[in-house]
C-alpha cells in the first residue's frame, strides 16, 4: 500500500478489485447456504424465532435488532468493526487499538445515572464559575488595602477638558469629514495633535540628539575651565607676599572702576547695585579708624616722621589711601545727579544718604519709616554743625513754602512707586505676549533708570532742605518735641493729628496720601522749579487738582496726655492691688508643698495598750519604757523628687479618677503595647502638624460625591486595574484608551 511507484499502486488496486468480486460471490453463496439451513431448522420447529436481518430504513430502530452473521449469535464487537479493519481510510494505529479491544473480554461499564451525570455537570460548572470569578481577587484586595476609595469609580474630572481629549473623543461622521480625514491620514498629517506631523517629530528627535552631544561637549569644556580657574585661584591665595597682594588689590580696584563705567552704560541696574555697595564700603571706611593715622603703627611713624623720610612717606600713603577709599565714586550716574543738583556740593551731603534705600526693605513697613523721618530735632545738633551759615540764611527765606512742597514731593514719591510697579507689571505682560518687544526692553529700562537717578538726586536735595529747615526752626526757638517717642508709624491724617503740634507743622494736612512715607521734606524753591524743567516732570497743577484719598483706619492713639495717663495708671494699679490684696500666691504654694511633704513623711506607730500588764485608768499613763518598746519605727522615706525643685510639687500617688479613661486591654489590630502607644501618641490636629500632613492624616476612608449614582463595579475597572498594575511606563496609552472608551460610554448613556 505504501509503494511509491504509481504503476505499482495501480496494479495493487486492480488486484483488490478482483479480490472484492471474488468475495462478493463467496458471500452470496454463504447467504444462500444459511437460508437453506434456516429453512431446514424451521421445518424442525425451533424454539425461538431468530432476529431477522434489518433490511429497511425505519424511524425507530432498536439497537438490539442488529444481527450477527449467523443465527443465534450475539453481536460481537468484531462484527461491528470488521469494515474498519479493511478500509484503507482507517489509520493503522486505530486499527491496532481496535484489535486490542476485540481481544479484551471485559464488559463495558454502565453509563452514569441521570442524577449523577447532572451532579458532575454541576460540579464542573461551579469550578468554572469559581475560577472565572476569582479574577476579581486582585481588585478586591487592592480596594481593601487602599487608603482612600473614591466613588463613583469611573469618575470623569469636572471642569474644562484639554483640547486633545475632546478631539480624540470626536468621530468622523459626515462624508465630507471622512474624505478630509482620509486625505490627512494618507499624507501622514496629524489628526489629533495639530502641532507637529510625524515627519516633523522624527526630524526633531534627530536634532535633539545632535544638540545633546553639542551641549555635552560644552559642559565638559566648562567644567575643565572651572577646574583650571580654581587651581589658579588656590595657587594665588597661597602667595604670602604683601606687596604682591597690595599691587593686586590696586589693579583690581582700578579695573573695577573701569568696568563700572562700562557697566553704567550697559547694565544700569547692576551699576546701581555696585554703586550701593561702594557707598556702603565708603561708609564703613569713614566710620572706622583704619587708615586714619591714629593706630599704634601710625603714632610710632608720626614720632619717626621728623627724622625719617620713609616714615613720612608711609604716613602720606596711608592718608592718601584713606582719601581714596572715602572718596565718592564718580561715575556717569553720579555725574548726572550732580548736574541736576546744580549748586549742591557733594561734600556737604547729609547723613541722610546713610539711610537704607526704600526699595531694599519695602517688605517691612516698620523699616519704611526711615531714620531721617524721625522728628527732625533728633538730628538737629549735627546739622547745625554741618550746615554752613550762608546757605542757612538762604533756606530760611524759603521756609514758608516748605510745607506745601513737602507734601507735593511725598505725592511724587508715592506716584513714582506706583508707576514703577505698573511699569514692571506691564513689562512682564509685554514680555509674555510679544517676543519682538524684548529688544526694546533694555532701552526702556535705561530711560527709566535715568528718571530714577533724577529722582534720587531730587530727594537728596529735599532731605537737605528738610534738615536745614529743621535747624532753622530750632534756632528760631520752636518748642521741642519729646525725643523718647521713638518710631511712630503714621498711616493717616488722623494719625498725624495725634502727633505733637511740632510734627504736624512739618507734615502736610490735606494732600498727603495715606500710604506716603514721611521721609521727604520740603525742597528749596529753586529745586522745585528745576524739577519742572526735567524730562519726566510732574505738573504741579495737575497734581494739586487731584484729591488725595483718605482711608480711615481706627487705631489706638499712640500718645496720650501724660498727666492724665499717669493718673489713670495709678488708679489701675491701685485697683489691682486692692483686688488682690490678700493674695500671696507664692506663700500659698509653699504652704501647700510643706503640707504635702509632711503628709508623705512616714509616721511613728504607737502600739502601746494602756492598762495592759499594768494599772490603767484616769490620770495614769503607760510607762515610758513600755511606750518606747511598743513604738514601731518606720524606715525613713526616700528623698522626695521635688526636694530640689522649689517651684514644683511632684505627687506620686495614683489618681483613681483617671483609670476610667484609660485603655485596660490591648485592642485588636495591635500586636504589642508599643505599637498602640505610638499610634495614640501621633497627633492628628493642625496644632501639631503642618497643613499638608493634617490633610493627609484626616483623609476620609471613603469619598462619595453628593447626588451621584454609584454604579456597581464593571469589567472596565478590572481592565483598568490590570493596566495600571502592568507597568508604569506603558500605563499612559492604556489609560487614555480606557478613558476614551469610558467617555464614549458616558455620552451614550446620557443619550439614552
Amino acid at each position: 500500500m505504501e509503494s511509491e511507484d504509481p504503476e505499482m499502486e495501480r496494479e495493487d488496486a486492480e488486484d483488490e478489485r478482483e479480490d472484492a468480486e471474488d468475495e462478493r460471490e463467496d458471500e452470496e453463496d454463504e447467504r444462500r447456504r444459511l437460508k437453506l439451513v434456516e429453512a431446514i431448522t424451521a421445518l424442525r420447529g425451533g424454539r425461538k424465532k431468530p432476529l431477522g436481518e434489518r433490511s429497511e430504513a425505519a424511524v425507530r430502530v432498536s439497537e438490539f435488532a442488529v444481527t450477527a452473521e449467523g443465527e443465534r449469535q450475539k453481536v460481537q464487537l468484531s462484527d461491528l468493526i470488521e469494515g474498519a479493519q479493511q478500509s484503507p481510510a482507517v489509520p493503522t494505529q486505530t486499527r491496532k487499538q481496535l484489535q486490542n479491544l476485540s481481544r479484551s473480554q471485559k464488559t463495558v461499564e454502565q453509563p452514569l445515572s441521570r442524577q449523577e451525570s447532572e451532579r458532575v455537570q454541576r460540579d464542573l460548572a461551579f469550578q468554572k464559575a469559581a475560577v472565572h470569578v476569582s479574577r476579581w481577587k486582585s481588585v478586591v484586595t487592592q480596594n481593601r488595602r487602599s487608603e482612600q476609595l473614591v466613588f463613583p469609580l469611573n469618575q470623569e474630572p469636572s471642569g474644562p477638558k484639554p483640547l486633545e481629549k475632546v478631539v480624540t473623543g470626536w468621530r468622523v461622521q459626515t462624508p465630507l469629514e471622512q474624505e478630509v480625514f482620509n486625505l490627512l491620514s494618507a499624507n501622514k498629517q496629524p489628526i489629533h495633535d495639530p502641532v507637529l506631523s510625524p515627519a516633523e517629530e522624527a526630524s526633531l528627535r534627530a536634532m535633539s540628539l545632535e544638540e545633546a552631544q553639542i551641549r555635552r561637549a560644552e559642559l565638559q569644556k566648562a567644567r575643565a575651565l572651572q577646574s583650571y580657574y580654581e587651581a589658579k585661584a588656590r595657587r594665588e591665595r597661597k602667595i604670602k607676599s604683601k606687596k604682591y597682594h597690595r599691587v593686586q588689590n590696586k589693579a583690581r580696584r582700578k579695573e573695577f572702576l573701569k568696568q563700572f563705567d562700562q557697566m553704567v552704560k550697559t547694565d544700569p541696574n547692576g551699576a546701581l547695585e555696585e554703586l550701593n555697595k561702594m557707598e556702603l564700603a565708603r561708609m564703613k571706611e569713614r566710620m572706622s579708624l583704619k587708615h586714619q593715622n591714629s593706630g599704634k603703627w601710625a603714632r610710632s611713624k608720626a614720632i619717626m616722621a621728623k627724622y625719617d623720610e620713609g616714615a613720612r612717606r608711609a604716613m602720606q600713603q596711608q592718608l592718601e589711601l584713606n582719601k581714596d577709599l572715602t572718596q565718592k565714586v564718580r561715575s556717569s550716574l553720579s555725574n548726572q545727579e550732580e548736574q541736576e543738583d546744580g549748586a549742591s556740593d557733594p561734600e556737604l551731603l547729609p547723613d541722610f544718604v546713610n539711610d537704607a534705600e526704600p526699595g531694599q526693605v519695602s517688605s517691612n513697613p516698620w523699616m519704611r519709616g526711615e531714620l531721617s523721618a524721625e522728628p527732625a530735632e533728633a538730628q538737629r545738633s549735627e546739622q547745625e554743625v554741618a550746615a554752613p551759615a550762608a546757605e542757612k540764611e538762604q533756606h530760611e527765606e524759603e521756609e514758608e513754602k516748605a510745607d506745601e512742597e513737602e507734601a507735593l514731593l511725598r505725592d511724587f514719591e508715592s506716584r513714582r512707586k506706583l508707576r514703577q510697579k505698573e511699569e514692571e507689571e506691564q513689562e512682564a505682560a509685554v514680555q509674555d505676549v510679544e517676543d519682538s518687544d524684548e529688544e526694546e526692553g533694555p532701552a526702556d529700562q535705561d530711560q527709566e533708570e535715568e528718571g530714577l537717578s533724577e529722582f534720587r538726586s531730587l530727594f537728596r536735595g529735599v532731605a537737605e532742605g528738610l534738615k536745614e529747615a529743621a535747624a532753622a526752626a530750632s534756632s528760631a526757638g520752636c518748642s521741642s518735641a519729646p525725643l523718647e517717642g521713638g518710631l511712630i508709624r503714621i498711616r493717616t491724617v488722623e494719625d498725624a493729628e495725634l502727633l505733637p503740634p511740632e510734627d504736624v507743622e512739618l507734615l502736610p494736612c490735606s494732600e498727603s496720601p495715606p500710604s506716603a512715607p514721611q521721609e521727604e521734606a520740603p525742597p528749596t524753591g529753586q529745586k522745585a522749579r528745576g524739577n519742572k524743567k526735567r524730562k519726566r516732570n510732574i505738573e504741579l497743577k495737575e497734581v494739586l487738582t487731584k484729591d488725595a484719598k483718605t482711608v480711615t483706619v481706627p487705631l489706638a492713639p499712640t500718645l496720650t496726655d501724660t498727666a492724665d495717663g499717669s493718673d489713670e495708671e495709678l488708679d489701675q494699679r491701685g485697683l489691682i492691688m486692692e483686688a488682690f490684696a490678700g493674695d500671696d500666691v507664692i506663700a500659698d504654694f509653699l504652704r501647700d508643698k510643706r503640707k504635702q511633704e509632711d503628709a508623705a513623711k512616714p509616721k511613728v506607730v504607737d502600739l502601746t495598750l494602756p492598762g495592759w500588764g499594768e494599772w490603767g485608768g484616769q490620770g495614769l499613763k503607760p510607762s515610758s519604757r513600755k511606750r518606747r518598746r511598743f513604738r514601731v519605727k518606720v524606715a525613713p522615706a526616700e528623698p522626695r523628687k521635688d526636694q530640689r525643685l522649689p517651684g514644683v510639687i511632684i505627687s506620686e500617688q495614683r489618681n483613681g479618677s483617671l483609670s476610667a479613661h484609660q485603655v485596660s486591654a490591648l485592642p485588636f489590630p495591635f500586636e504589642n503595647h508599643a505599637q498602640f502607644e505610638s499610634a495614640v501618641r501621633t497627633p492628628l490636629g493642625r496644632t501639631w502638624n503642618t497643613e499638608r500632613t493634617v490633610k493627609k492624616l484626616t483623609m476620609p476612608k471613603v469619598l462619595t460625591q453628593l447626588g451621584t449614582i454609584i454604579q456597581p463595579m464593571t469589567e472596565e475597572e478590572l481592565a483598568r486595574k490590570k493596566a495600571s498594575a502592568a507597568g508604569a511606563g506603558k500605563e499612559d496609552p492604556h489609560k487614555t484608551k480606557d478613558q476614551k472608551r469610558r467617555a464614549r460610554k458616558g455620552r451614550h448613556s446620557q443619550k439614552i
Binding site: 461551579f126 476579581w136 517691612n364 516698620w366 495614640v680 476620609p700 471613603v702
Partner: protein
C-alpha cells in the same frame, strides 16, 4: 554694615482684610507641646458626644399605601425616584425630593411580590412570583417561584429554567458585577447559585434555617450576604460555601431583607423585630440601629444609589427615609466644615478603644421589648455554651468537638 532691629514684620501677623482668617504662627516642635495626647483625647470625647447629640437619622415618612409595603425598587438612573408595591397590588411612584407620590397604578390583584427597574430606567417590572431581578446590562430577567426562570424580555416563555428538588424559592438576585451569576434562596433552607449560561445550577448550601433574601456585594464580585430566619445574617464567599465568612448578629427576630450600600462597605438589614440595622461588611455586630415607635415589621429595605440614604418599607403601610450616617450633615459642606468633620472622624477612630469614648459611641436607645429580648437571647446563648462546655468537660477528650459559630449554621453543601 547691618543694623539689627528688634521688630516683627506686621505682614507676618496682620491680616489684610477682616474676612481673612487669623494668622496663627505655629511652632511644631513636639517638645513644646507636651499635652497633645490629652488635648486630642478631650477633642475626641467632645466629638463623640456631639455625634450622639446630632444623630437624628429619621428624615421623612411617605404614606399613601392602603396595605403593607411589600417591595421597593430603586430607580436606576434617577436618585429622587422610588417605586413601591404593596400587598393590595398597588404600585406607587414617589418623588423623594418632594416627598410625594407621583403616580399610582393598580398592578395586580394580589400581592406585588417583586419589582425591579430596568437598567436603562425607562421601564419597570412587577411580579406575582415570589422574586424578581433584572440583568445588569441585557434585556434578561429572572423570576422565582416553584423554579428559577430566566426570561428574555422579547419572549413569552422562559429561555431557561432551573430546578433542583421540588422546593419553592423565596428570592432571586443577579450578581451586579459578574452579571451572568445568580443566587436564590429556597424554602428547603438552602441557598442555590446559578450561572445563566449553564444548563444546571452550580451549588447549593443548606443551612439550619431558611434564608429570606440574598444580596450581592456590588464592589466585590464573589461576596454575598443573606438574611436568615435565625435572626442572623451571613456573608459568604461564593467559591467557599462550606462556612460563612462572617456571621452578623444583633437582630432579635427573623431578618427579612438586606441591601448593600453602593460603595460595598456596609449593608442594611430589615427585620421582623421592627428595627433596621446597619452592619459594616466585615463586622459581626451592627454599627447602628434605627427604629421608631410607629414602625412595625420592616418588610423591605433599600440603600439609595448615592449611598447617603436608606429607605424602608414596613407593615404599617409607610415608607421611611433615613440617613445612612445618623449624625452626618446633609448638603454641601464648606471646606472648613468638611475638614473639621474629617478631623473629628479620625479622632473618633483613633480613640475608639478608650472606654469612655467607646461607651458613648455605642450607646443607643432601644425599645423596651428589643432590649429585653436581647438580654434574654444573651442569657440563652450563655446557657447553651455553658452546657456544651460542661458536656465537653465530662466526656472523653475529642468526643465533643468545638464547633465554631460560623460552622454551626451550615448543615451541608450539595454539589
Amino acid at each position: 554694615m547691618k543694623v539689627k532691629v528688634l521688630s516683627r514684620n506686621p505682614d507676618d501677623y496682620i491680616r489684610e482684610t477682616k474676612l481673612d482668617i487669623q494668622r496663627v504662627p505655629r511652632n511644631y516642635d513636639p517638645t513644646l507641646h507636651p499635652f497633645e495626647v490629652a488635648r486630642e483625647y478631650t477633642r475626641a470625647l467632645n466629638a463623640t458626644k456631639l455625634e450622639r447629640v446630632f444623630a437624628k437619622p429619621f428624615l421623612a415618612s411617605l404614606d399613601g399605601h392602603r396595605d403593607g409595603v411589600n417591595c421597593l425598587a430603586k430607580h436606576t438612573t434617577s436618585l429622587s425616584t422610588l417605586l413601591s408595591g404593596s400587598c393590595d397590588g398597588e404600585v406607587k411612584v414617589w418623588n423623594l425630593s418632594k416627598r410625594e407620590c407621583v403616580r399610582t397604578l393598580q398592578a395586580h390583584e394580589g400581592f406585588v411580590r417583586g419589582m425591579v427597574v430596568r437598567f436603562c430606567g425607562t421601564s419597570f417590572f412587577t411580579t406575582v412570583f415570589t422574586g424578581l431581578d433584572h440583568h445588569q446590562k441585557e434585556g434578561v430577567f429572572a423570576t422565582c417561584g416553584q423554579q428559577v426562570d430566566i426570561w428574555d424580555e422579547q419572549r413569552s416563555s422562559p429561555i431557561r429554567s432551573f430546578t433542583w428538588g421540588v422546593d419553592s424559592f423565596s428570592s432571586v438576585s443577579f450578581n451586579p458585577v459578574e452579571t451572568e451569576l445568580l443566587g436564590s434562596c429556597a424554602s428547603d433552607r438552602s441557598i442555590v447559585l446559578y450561572d445563566m449560561r449553564e444548563s444546571a445550577p452550580l451549588k447549593k448550601v443548606i443551612m439550619t434555617m431558611r434564608s429570606n433574601t440574598l444580596c450581592w456585594n456590588p464592589m466585590e464580585a464573589y461576596y454575598f450576604t443573606c438574611a436568615n430566619e435565625d435572626y442572623n445574617l451571613y456573608t459568604y464567599d461564593m467559591r467557599y460555601l462550606e462556612k460563612p465568612l462572617v456571621v452578623h448578629m444583633d437582630h432579635v427576630s427573623a431578618v427579612l431583607d438586606v441591601d448593600y450600600s453602593p460603595t460595598g462597605q456596609e449593608f442594611v438589614s430589615a427585620s421582623f423585630d421592627k428595627t433596621i440595622r446597619i452592619f459594616p461588611k466585615d463586622a459581626g455586630h451592627s454599627r447602628e440601629v434605627y427604629h421608631t415607635k410607629r414602625m412595625q415589621h420592616v418588610i423591605c429595605i433599600k440603600w439609595s444609589a448615592d449611598s447617603k440614604y436608606i429607605l424602608s418599607g414596613s407593615d404599617e403601610m409607610n415608607i421611611r427615609l433615613w440617613k445612612a450616617n445618623a449624625a452626618e450633615k446633609l448638603g454641601v459642606l464648606a471646606p472648613r466644615e468638611r475638614e473639621a468633620a474629617n478631623y473629628s472622624q479620625k479622632l473618633k477612630e483613633k480613640f475608639q478603644n478608650h472606654p469612655q469614648i467607646r461607651r458613648i459611641a455605642r450607646h443607643r436607645h432601644l425599645p423596651k421589648s428589643i432590649y429585653h429580648q436581647t438580654k434574654e437571647l444573651r442569657v440563652m446563648k450563655d446557657a447553651r455554651r455553658r452546657k456544651e462546655m460542661n458536656v465537653r468537660k465530662h466526656s472523653k477528650p475529642g468526643a465533643v468537638p468545638v464547633v465554631s459559630e460560623k460552622e454551626k449554621h451550615v448543615v451541608t453543601v450539595v454539589k
